[in-house]
Subunit: 229 residues, 2 copies
């Protein structure tokens, strides 16, 4: 069956920029394209939006189909609507970004594992289409959001050391932060709950573990509180 | 001529949320729909994206065609891709928001004037489609951006009094700000250039005029400076 319209229509796709953190470095998840164009090239997971699903649902579906990831933090990033993005025809893509806790998610679906891979942010492969540009936009957004919203906790294990949180911020922002200032600031918000447990941090003495107080953050946010790191 | 595709395709539109400031209140510009659906109802200016123009260009074109506005601050807001947004068929809309300096732009094209009108934010009309929701999203974005980027100056005359700047912040944020703290903070960034001229502020004594130092802001921004009010 074919679908006919009076005016030419763009195809609509979704693309997902997926950030992970391995404790030291920021990483991005790409899939290897099985078909032309850009066959064999790494690309953002994504695909065509079905006419009977919302664009958000399309992003969730494609993410799961191509990488096995579900129940992750997923947010709309930007819509890329320039001409010539796709050599085949006019394609407009709604991009999303996902933050994946690599400590609690199996990274890849077994069936697709051969075609999906994490890359450290400092060594990204050549990407299909305008996906390198989309990654740049996502990274700028992540840097901005991390300063004003506590989304970084999505990337950490539920229980974490302050040194892990600092490493995450340093990896995303690309700069070294003063340890004492960082701790003072982050503890000053009273949003981290110290746990009974400790954890060995390499060869160092056991370090205190914390978890993020989501409930308190939601309450403060309602009152107009703004987080800033 | 008709266009045929193997799969059904959504129609793609743009919608523009246009903010203005009259010195006291935030205002929004709507057009009255000439055709069904929602004939005679107020709506955001917008329309279908042509297959041979970028989505950004479609927003600029529709804005000018329907309201006469051009050369305004226009930024992509969000893409609304839920099912059932339009009673006719599947329509995905890329929304933009524009900040209009009402002191230097003629508000409306003569030809369309009867069908376009500014409304104060506190007294918006019933809107077509999901446009009330789009306005809510735009307002939240404006509130957030105003705190961290000096975009408020787009809404003011080139030369302004500090009381005008404060009124703008109060109108957008919906709260009264302490005059002394506001002035201290805003002048502390050294981003306002005091002018020789003064201006009468109603019955009060002549008030100093300022202009925003765009050049210095761009330089500071490159160095990683972040503005916050």
């Amino acid at each position: 069956m074919n679908y006919t319209y009076q005016y030419a229509r763009a195809a609509l796709t979704v693309d997902c920029v997926i950030f992970g953190f391995d404790g030291e470095r920021m990483q991005l998840l790409f899939i290897k394209r099985a078909l032309a164009p850009f066959q064999g090239t790494w690309a953002l997971p994504g695909g065509f939006v079905h006419v009977n699903e919302s664009v958000d649902d399309a992003a969730l579906r494609e993410l799961q189909e191509e990488t096995g990831l579900k129940d992750v933090f997923l947010e709309q990033l930007y819509t890329f609507g320039q001409l010539g993005r796709d050599p085949r025809e006019r394609v407009v893509s709604v991009a999303y970004f996902a933050l994946v806790n690599r400590f609690s998610h199996t990274p890849l679906a077994a069936t697709d594992a051969a075609d999906a891979q994490w890359f450290p942010m400092q060594a990204l492969p050549t990407l299909a289409f305008d996906h390198a540009h989309i990654v740049d936009v996502a990274l700028a957004r992540l840097r901005g959001k991390l300063r004003y919203e506590p989304i970084g906790f999505e990337l950490l294990p539920k229980k974490f050391r302050l040194s892990q949180l600092q490493s995450l911020y340093e990896a995303v922002l690309g700069q070294t932060l003063d340890k004492r200032n960082f701790r003072k600031k982050v503890l000053g918000y009273d949003l981290l709950i110290p746990l009974e447990e400790t954890q060995r941090d390499g060869a160092h003495r056991p370090a205190q573990l914390f978890r993020f107080d989501t409930k308190r953050y939601q309450q403060l946010k309602k009152k107009g509180f703004s987080f800033e790191l």
